[in-house]
Amino acid sequence: MTKMLEVDRLTKHYPLRGGLLNRVKGRIKAVDDVSFDVQEGTTFGIAGESGSGKSTLCMTIAKLLEPTSGNIVLEGKDYARAKGQELREFRTKLQIVFQNPLSSLDPHMTVGPIVLEPLKASGRLSSLDKEKAVTDLLEKVGLAGSLATRYPHELSGGQAQRVSIARALSVSPRLLLLDEPTSALDASVQAQILNLFNELQRELGITYLLVSHDLSVIGHMCDQVAIMYAGKFVETGSYKQIFYAANHPYTAALLGSTHMIGPPEAEERFVLRGEMPSPRNPPSGCTLHPRCPFATQVCRETYPEVADVGGGHLAACHNREAVVAALSAARG
């Protein structure tokens, strides 16, 4: 397998201004030193709650935000500081599907021009039979070609999301960023869209980076999973390692907070106290410590090193052994 995307020590900080002269008083570390690889043709999931930085990470990788530092290597080429022609080339390789399909489609345009927009931006439109291109794209996402003359408000939520996917596919990207792509949809429509993503992956060999707060979606879709908290990846591994052998207390809490259908788990649900800290004034040491039942003195003082616990499974926790022991005891 080859690496499609390599994100290396990516950081996005925002200046925190204040006072009489509006001087920079500090930094908000929205994305802090994040590294991971995505293999071609697989789905990499990023899970976290609001404020974890997962959307900022997504926007930074897509170059909709300028990274503060770090590298974004797509098919072997670093685009972190790409501009002009290079950036246009990057945008044909990487496209995004956003959460709310209706607000990401221009209400003044009909479906046909909407799905061709990325082709137009990349300068490849003139050589094409436009009508055929639109019909092909719409059929690829399971829509009738006749929808091309409709306006976004005439579409259902599921149809609108399919149009966003068709638009993203128009430039034949290698990587699709999916930012909460089904969070605004009803359960039955969500199922259709998730199935569509998996079909497209099988047919086109496309690679996905899927961001979601919903661990049932992540566990259904992903090969590799990262759990994000307060700007950092706290645990990364295969879906099997994350869902069946978690090493980090936050992963365990997130799993415990996900409503799963089916037989009740034997394990005691693990509920965190309190809420996500403010990024303006993060806690010392490990950012989870004020909420963590396993926290000890060292957690209040230093941020834990990322440790490889075997087979590429990475976790950042001082008290990993205690967490693993407690989880396996709870499983019985």
Partner: protein, 327 residues
């Protein structure tokens, strides 16, 4: 006696495309100290049903028949002034987005004291003590600081706790919670759902929980009613409905929810139902689910089914009529 009895409720909307008969003859009850979840997708009518109970329907909606009884008395027969004594007092509400339910220009304490004065006539120091007590009950730590805060200074989770405290202030018999945790994060959602269960155990109230998530409903409620296009298609004990759904729509709703794969399990497609929710200004004849139902029979396209009792739930489906093969 049940706390709430809805019997033969007929409710229609006047729309540009003509009359929309949402409920044709709806029956539902809520027992004492019971959490009943109403589960359905957008447009199924779950919120309309809850708002009908407190008579907060939009102007184009009309109740054409049937009755809603609360503590044995008809709510539909009450004058608006009498209804105002029930609404917000005996029956209180918690809405989805606490940020828009709280008034942004008043401090939390002021808003609570106003509700307390209005609903139970308490003022001054006793009212303040009552408010602090309520905030403690919803597990807010620094109650004085919360009272002095403006809503925007609180997180979404804290705002929702304040809304719960306000809903509890009149010691209601029934709380209607409309998607109370849909706007907050997973770990906070779990905290709030646990809090709801604890409060229900401590106090004597019943709850109607409206949610789009059958998984949340299973976790919190005693009983689930599944709505589709204005019909309660299945109703019964929460765990039996989710573990062994009987109505084809409930089956579809449960099976289309993604789950983490088992270790080493390949990615298999989720089961989906084809088609779309019907336009209720022109409902399909017979069962409203028949155009999308994989098991639809001739009779389903002609006649409206009744409820058949099967394995702990009641299903509105001809499949469970005597002599039909069960699915």
């Amino acid at each position: 006696m049940n706390l709430v009895e809805i019997e033969g409720l007929r409710l229609s909307f006047q729309t540009e495309r003509g009359q929309l008969d949402l409920f044709t003859s709806l029956n539902l009850s809520v027992g004492e100290r019971e959490i009943l979840a109403i589960v359905g997708e957008s447009g199924s009518g779950k919120s309309t049903l809850a708002y009908a109970v407190v008579r907060l329907l939009p102007g184009n909606a009309g109740i054409l028949g049937g009755d809603i009884r609360f503590e044995g008395k008809s709510l539909l027969a009450l004058k608006e002034s009498e209804m105002a004594k029930v609404r917000g007092k005996r029956i209180t509400m918690v809405f989805q987005d606490p940020g828009t339910s709280l008034n942004p220009v008043f401090r939390v304490g002021e808003q609570m004291l106003r509700v307390i004065k209005n609903n139970i006539g308490l003022e001054g120091e006793p009212a303040r003590r009552h408010a602090v007590q309520l905030l403690k009950e919803v597990e807010l730590a620094d109650t004085n600081q919360v009272m002095e805060s403006f809503p925007f200074e609180l997180s979404g989770g804290m705002q929702q706790r304040v809304m719960l405290a306000i809903a509890l202030s009149s010691n209601p018999r029934l709380i209607i919670a409309d998607e109370p945790t849909s706007a907050v994060d997973a770990t906070i959602q779990m905290q709030i759902l646990r809090l709801l269960q604890k409060m229900k155990a401590d106090r004597e109230f019943s709850m109607i929980l409206i949610t789009h998530s059958i998984a949340v409903a299973q976790d919190v409620s005693d009983r689930i009613a599944v709505m589709y296009a204005g019909d309660i298609v299945e109703e019964g004990e929460a765990r039996s409905i989710v573990r062994s759904p009987k109505h084809p729509y409930t089956q579809a709703l449960v099976r289309c929810i993604p789950q983490p794969r088992k270790p080493d399990e390949p990615k298999v497609p989720l089961q989906i139902v084809g088609g779309q929710v019907p336009d209720l200004t022109r409902p399909p004849p017979g069962c409203r689910f028949n155009p999308r139902c994989p098991y639809a029979m001739d009779i389903c396209r002609r006649e409206k089914p009744s409820y058949y009792r099967v394995g702990g739930t009641n299903a509105l489906c001809f499949l469970y009529r005597e002599g039909e093969g069960q699915r």
